[in-house]
């Protein structure tokens, strides 16, 4: 019993000390280093336009206008790309709700691009894990070229070369996948029209 009391005292003191070390000094120290050497990245990779914050290149936005590249579907609630509540759909592969949602997305893509008979890339009609995926696959970007070119009245070649400029390769050519940042691509699209 005396040993237990002694141990309880040690436990409380040690927990206090480690709360200070690992719960305060450690995160504050890392914050200090991060803010000193790469503050932009440590603060969310936010980008500005005309002195206004217009987004983070890491957090996707829900583009649905046919003249923009569309992002992947998002399952966040109550609206897509709600970054205050990241979430996947968590629908199982055999769930009919998943098939219905996918069918609806396919119809939506076809509605704005009736003559596009290409197979639809899988990532363009499935929702991402975080619901905030900022990227689409290069194939999904190329799939949308005909619609965007028509809506904006520009040549398809121009849109394609814009995509090519924005494709990110896997790290060291091996890790991860080829991907395109939708926000950056759409900003570049708007710049193309205004210039």
């Amino acid at each position: 019993m005396i040993e237990m009391i002694k141990q309880t005292k040690i436990a409380i003191l040690l927990l206090l000390l480690f709360t200070l070390f690992t719960g305060l000094i450690y995160p504050v120290f890392v914050t200090g280093i991060a803010q000193l050497f790469y503050p932009w990245r440590a603060n969310g990779s936010l980008i500005e336009q005309n002195d206004q914050l217009i987004g983070s290149i890491l957090i996707g936005q829900a583009f649905t206008d046919p003249k923009y590249f569309w992002s992947r579907p998002s399952a966040t609630t109550p609206y897509p790309y709600n970054s205050e509540n990241s979430s996947g759909s968590n629908l199982g592969p055999s769930n009919l709700d998943l098939l219905k949602a996918i069918q609806q997305r396919i119809d939506n893509l076809h509605q704005y691009d009736k003559n596009n008979a290409k197979l639809i890339p899988i990532d363009l009609i499935t929702s991402s894990g975080s619901g905030l995926d900022p990227h689409i696959s290069p194939q999904s970007a190329f799939y949308q070229v005909s619609r965007i070119a028509r809506e904006r009245g520009i040549q398809e070649e121009k849109v394609k070369s814009l995509i090519l400029q924005h494709i990110k390769s896997p790290v060291f050519g091996i890790l991860g996948e080829f991907h395109v940042n939708v926000l950056k691509l759409n900003i570049a699209l708007d710049d193309l029209n205004s210039s």
Partner: protein, 601 residues
């Protein structure tokens, strides 16, 4: 599978294997007290806490020190959550965490499970994340390693009652191993875009305002319906996006290294702020396996026979690698229901990841998501970079079954290897029965007492998982939380209790686990799963320590040979497969068969 994908897996495994020896021998020296370069930090801690570092403990004092320390931790985490609205650094003004959820989260983080019934970005203040969760990420991991070291000392010492000092082991594990590694990883991660700040959430102006429909609800949160019974909607326009902030990198680093896995954000490491690039993803995947793999070498070094450590590591790898490939192949094949809809699931290098992309992020694709899913459930990490609930049935079965093996294929830091050593004891015993000799392991006789304790350690987990799952399946409060119908809904419940009892923490996240039923029952499952294995383990350590070391003779079963490795793998798989096959048949197996039946292969 593409060639690049295969190369990615290969490089991952090679880097892990290369780090086993240097880190493993470093950790052995830390626990043997050979390093003194941080003694200027160590000594003041001992003095402040009134610890006598030279004083060795019997297994019972070691156990009570561990339990008292963990209990203090549970109380602290609970209190901080309950009082977060009065404490500083609550920039978003979150209310106190409800009691059941706070209990569940406290049990979850102290037992190294890190089951997430909470949604980080809309529930917990920065202070709670740091001073409650991050602290326990360190301490629960250090506790696991201390228990392992105590067991190793039990094996190596002769006719003694001493297992070392719990406080010293835990302090050393934290300041020599976990803290330095986390510092390096946190700085690396934040340099790549994992956020690390104390700012309030940022408001940004959307380039394209979003039109959406919001269902109208009454005061009770029930949606109001029109005459036809359809829910009513109102149209809304959204012009802004609220970007969450916080000290994320420091928490993510230790959550991966300490096989914790509880995320800063709701979607864990799928969230771009926890895991923004393929490179951060690779660092984090290495961190998941790093310490559990290296501890095998530490074991070999401390028992003065490195072959013993390599043999166990090899057994783990032989089970791990085929399962890893199985997950990748299953996910890359995709959902057999989709091709008929005019969708392309084939992978084209440079163009599309293909495969089952529901619940996965484009930057990781199929391969990096599948490696992660396998590694995070082989270890008891439980962080996710894709939503396992949306995996193909076979792709989801593998993570589930890896946990069913008892989290011994790498497993949690410390806890994985001591779990595996329980299976080694059982294997030695079974082998002894076959040849009719008294079983021994590393010069220690394995008697009835050790076998009883090892059996308890191995059998408690399946008992809790199956009984709790059965309970949830027959109760309405259990089944109404499921998000998917049919067999998949059953898989969600089975996965939840498997994950919590094995202190893993990953989820088939469609299940709404933030209910009183799941919070309380799950909290109990996590506590039993951790301590009812830890206690028999320490009892064995105490009993082995008292025994004399018998020199080996030609008749001794050597425990580093291919024959023994095969036996150990056999025992591990037979125990896991036989216990859980009926349950798995009702969940993922039947779901896969139904998919194939309906849509073809």
């Amino acid at each position: 599978m593409t060639e690049i994908g295969l190369l990615q897996i290969l490089i991952y495994l090679i880097i892990i294997l290369l780090s086993v020896k240097p880190l493993g021998s470093y950790m052995a020296k830390v626990y043997e007290g050979d390093f003194k370069f941080l003694s200027s930090i160590e000594r003041p801690i001992y003095r402040f806490c009134q610890i006598a570092p030279q004083q060795e403990m019997t297994w019972k004092s070691y156990l009570s020190a561990m339990l008292v320390f963990n209990l203090t931790g549970i109380l602290a985490v609970y209190l901080i959550q309950r009082l977060q609205n009065f404490l500083p650094l609550n920039l978003q003004g979150f209310t106190a965490v409800p009691p059941e959820l706070a209990f569940n989260t406290a049990a979850s983080f102290v037992t190294n499970s890190n089951w997430q019934a909470y949604g980080g970005e809309n529930t917990l203040s920065y202070l709670t994340q740091m001073m409650a969760l991050t602290v326990q990420n360190f301490l629960s991991a250090a506790t696991g390693m201390s228990l392992l070291i105590a067991l190793i000392r039990g094996i190596t010492s002769s006719e003694s009652t001493n297992l070392g000092n719990f406080w010293v082991d835990t302090i050393r594990g934290t300041i020599y191993i976990l803290l330095p590694l986390s510092l390096i990883l946190a700085i690396l991660l934040s340099s790549q875009g994992v956020i690390q700040n104390f700012k309030p959430y940022q408001k940004i102006n959307l380039i394209e305002p979003l039109n959406y429909q919001l269902s109208i609800t009454d005061a009770n949160g029930q949606s109001i319906k029109d005459e036809k019974g359809n829910p009513k909607f109102e149209n809304k326009i959204l012009k802004e996006q609220i970007i969450p902030m916080g000290p994320v990198a420091s928490q993510v680093a230790i959550k991966q290294l300490g096989t914790n896995g509880g995320g800063f954000f709701n979607t864990n490491s799928a969230h771009p702020f926890e895991n923004p690039t393929p490179l951060t993803n690779f660092f984090e995947m290495i961190a998941i396996l790093l310490i559990p793999a290296a501890l095998c070498y530490t074991f070999g070094a401390m028992v003065k026979d490195k072959r013993q450590g390599w043999a166990i590591l090899l057994a783990m790898l032989i089970i791990f690698i085929p399962l890893l490939l199985g997950t990748v192949i299953s996910e890359q094949n995709g959902n057999s229901a989709l091709p008929s809809l005019g969708i392309n699931q084939i992978a084209y290098p440079g163009l599309s990841p293909g495969g089952n992309m529901e619940g996965k992020e484009v930057r990781f694709g199929i391969v990096a998501s599948s490696i992660w899913a396998t590694a995070t459930t082989a270890t008891s990490n439980g962080s996710v970079n894709s939503m396992l609930d949306s995996f193909t049935p076979l792709g989801g079965l593998i993570p589930l079954w890896l946990m069913h093996l008892g989290e011994v294929i790498f497993g949690g830091v410390g806890s994985g290897l001591y779990g595996m050593l329980m299976l080694v004891i059982i294997t030695v015993f079974v082998a002894g029965l076959m040849v009719g000799r008294t079983p021994e392991y590393l010069g220690k006789k394995i008697d009835t007492y050790e076998m009883k304790m090892a059996s308890i350690a191995v059998l408690v987990m399946p008992l809790i998982v199956l009984v709790f799952t059965a309970l949830a399946v027959v109760l309405k409060i259990g089944t109404e939380s499921t998000a998917n119908p049919g067999a998949h809904g059953f898989s969600e419940i089975l996965y939840a209790f498997t994950s919590m009892t094995n202190n893993n923490g990953s989820a088939f996240a469609g299940l709404n686990a933030n209910t009183s039923f799941y919070n309380i029952l799950g909290g109990i499952a996590m506590l039993i799963g951790r301590y009812w294995i830890a206690i028999p383990t320490l009892a064995i350590a105490g009993s082995l320590a008292r025994k004399k070391v018998i020199p080996s003779n030609p008749g001794t079963l050597s425990t580093h040979t291919p024959l023994f490795i095969i036996l150990l793998i056999g025992i591990t798989i037979v125990l896991g497969a036989l216990t859980f096959f009926p349950a798995l048949a009702l969940g993922p197996i039947v779901e896969q068969l139904m998919l194939w039946d309906q849509y073809g292969h």
